[in-house]
Structure formats: C-alpha cells, structure tokens
Subunit: 200 residues, 2 copies
DNA sequence: ATGTTACGGTACCGACCAGTCCCACACGAT
DNA sequence: ATCGTGTGGGACTGGTCGGTACCGTAACAT
C-alpha cells in the first residue's frame, strides 16, 4: 500500500541530479539543525543518495558548507537585484524594500535567523573555507546598501548604511529569542527613522 | 627545571574550588570555540580537573552550558545595575551608558559576539535547558531597557527599547564579520539617534 | 583513630563522526 | 556487444564524543 503512484519527497526531487539534491538537503538541514548538528550521512539520506556520492561531488563537509552558503549568498544577491529593479530610480524606496524583504523573511515559521550569522557562530576557525564566503557576502551587502544610501542623497551614506545593517542584523537576531514583539514592523520603522535622520 | 616556584596557569587558579575552575574553563572555551566544538574532556583539562569531577558537579554537559550562561547573564545584570547606579536620575544617560557598555565589549580582541546569540545558533533544540536561560536573559534586558525609556520620557518606550535592542544586537553581530568599520562609535550614534527620534 | 566526603586519575562503554573503499548496476557512446 | 562512467548500497577505519564506573588518597569532622 505504500508503493502507490503518489510520489514521496524523495521522488519529487529525484529528477534533479544528485549534486542539486545534496545541496537542497544541506540547505534544509544545516539551517534548521546547525552545521555541527548534522552529519554527512543525514545529508546524504535526505538527498536520497549516499555519502560516497556526496564526497565525489564536494570532497569535504567543509566544502559542502561553503558551497551551500555560496548559493544562499547568490539568492540574497538576486533578491537585491529584484529590489533595485523594482524601484529603479527611487533609492529611498529601495532601502525600504530591503527592510521589508528582511522583515518578510522574519515571519518564516520557526525562523532560525540569518544562516551566515549562525554559521559564523558555529565556525570560529578563521581559516574555514566558509568564512570567506560569509565575509564576502556581508561586505557585498554593505556595499550595495551604501550605494543605495548614496543614491538617496543621505548626508553620510557609510554611516547610514552601517546603522541600517545594525538594524537588519539585530532584527534577525531578536526574532530568534521571542523577547521582542512585532519585529517586522519595528525594523521597518527603525530603518525609516535612520533614512529620515540622515536625509537631506 | 619545570617545577620552579613560578606558578603555572593551573596553579594560579588552583585555590578556587573545582566547580569554579570548571565554570571558568567553560566560559573561556565555550565562548571562543563554540559549545559543540568543545568536549567535556577539554573543559576538565583546562580546569585542571577530571571529567569525573565535572559530572559530579553538573551531571550533564547541557546543564554545564546552562549554568555557564546563567553566570554570564548575572554579569550582564550587574553591569546594568552599575549603569543605573552611576546615572541614578538620568535615564537618558543610562541608555547611553548601556550603548557605551556594549560598544566597549566590542573592542575585546577576537570578539566572538554575544554568547547568548551564538549559543542560540548552536542549540536549535527548543527544549535545551540553556534555551530558557537565554530567553529569560533577553526578556529581562529588554524589560530594563524599556524601563529606562519610560524614565527618559520617550513617547513610545516599548518601540524605542525594541529599536535600541536591534541596534545593540546588530552591532555585536556585525563586528564578527569585519564588514562594518567603527562599529562601536556607530552603534552609540544610532542609539543616540533613536533616543532623539523618540524623545519629547 | 575512624568514618565521610570530595577529589584526581584512569580505564572503559556505546554511539556517532568524517572520510575511504569496493561492489553491482544502469546508462550512454562507440 | 562492449566499454566507461556515475550511481546507490554498504562495509569499514580511526578518532572523538558524552557519560559511567572504579580506585587510591587527601582533608576534615568526630
């Protein structure tokens, strides 16, 4: 009775090559359970493949972690692209769009915070291959935010971008421990205030 | 020649009872290497004692983690006490004092961020004994910050306290990845701006 | 002197870890 | 038909993990 035509989870993604399935599984498990809390066997199992295939493609757990974060960084970057595209000549609205994007991400159920921040907490070794991915992503994000602040004509764009970064990161952290309520609205309000504060 | 009178690290703290030495070792190792990255054997070694003694006192690694965080929370609380005492009838200065306190903590070399946030990233299990310690601490800190905002006569103290919390948490996160410069000054500036923004 | 207690030391357990190896099978190209 | 390649399956290694049990001893109270 279990072998009906209804495709199970493993079969739904069975059409993708093993490499993509492994990355999907890593995405899900690393984010929800933590990197060190997930063994490569568990990743291979959820991907419907084996450890051998995993090591054939990535060579190392650390490399898999780095590649996973690289994909997440690309997703963030394309979200930024969409925001810049949508409010093409209104940098102020772009900044608000970024804040709204983060606020939306907060409502994801059982939110575990920013994958980069969590990974940073789990990987204290500065030579870990994932570290440069994280730092590059954060630096790039700050650069884009700074460019938006420049475009918005803010008096001190670097300062404003830094403060907005604090707000966004802080909101993602605060949503993990349930102390602060209505985090989404409040981070948007704070970013708005920062824009107004530095505005022309 | 190695058994001179110069006391080694183990002897410097040898006067403290084993329980305190274990907690000191846990503090150091858990914070710098991460909870899951440190074995109980390593904690016992650095404490100059044995795993047996560690388990006699704490029963479980998880319990040791919880007790460590309890101590850190108490240290934060007493720092808040000192700040409230120092600017006894100037709540606005108290808030700035909190921001300066956090900013000072950022300059600690090889800063690994807030132990509570890092632990949260490492302990996704909501039933972990350390989780309630973390949540209680964060809630308490927000409550005290809100009280300061009330005392300062801010228009919307809950909102202001939440935004200040975002700023402080975000600064601690941002200092881990070196993307943002001058984090200390900037978080103080942001908190100042929030006060002014909500102020009467 | 005697008993109690906490201590340091160590051997040990079962479980899990990252990583390796070999095998049988399905496929596509020639 | 044959070959090479990537695959899923599983056994295996060496090491580390959290946690337990046992022992001899030093400190202290009585």
């Amino acid at each position: 009775m279990t072998d009906t035509v209804r495709p199970g989870r493993a079969e739904r993604v069975a059409k993708l090559p093993p490499r993509e399935r492994i990355l999907d599984a890593a995405e899900e498990l690393f984010h929800s359970e933590g990197i060190r809390g997930v063994g490569v066997q568990a990743v291979a199992d959820r991907a419907g493949t084996t450890k051998a295939a995993l090591y054939r493609h990535f060579g190392t757990k650390d490399a898999l972690v780095a590649e996973w974060l690289l994909i997440v960084a690309a997703e963030y970057a394309s979200a930024f692209d969409g925001i810049e595209e949508r409010w093409r000549d209104d940098p102020r609205a772009q900044i608000r769009g970024v804040a709204a994007f983060v606020a939306d991400g907060l409502s994801a159920l059982s939110h575990r915070g920013c994958p980069f921040v969590n990974s940073l907490a789990e990987l204290p070794d500065p030579s870990h291959p994932a570290r440069q991915v994280i730092e590059a992503h954060k630096a790039r994000q700050l650069r884009r935010l700074t460019a938006m602040c420049v475009g918005a004509g803010l008096a001190d764009p670097e300062e404003a971008a830094a403060e907005i970064t604090f707000a966004l990161e802080g909101a993602q952290v605060s949503v993990q421990n349930g102390s602060v309520a209505r985090v989404g609205e409040r981070v948007v309000a704070l970013v708005d205030a920062v824009i107004a504060w530095h505005g022309p």
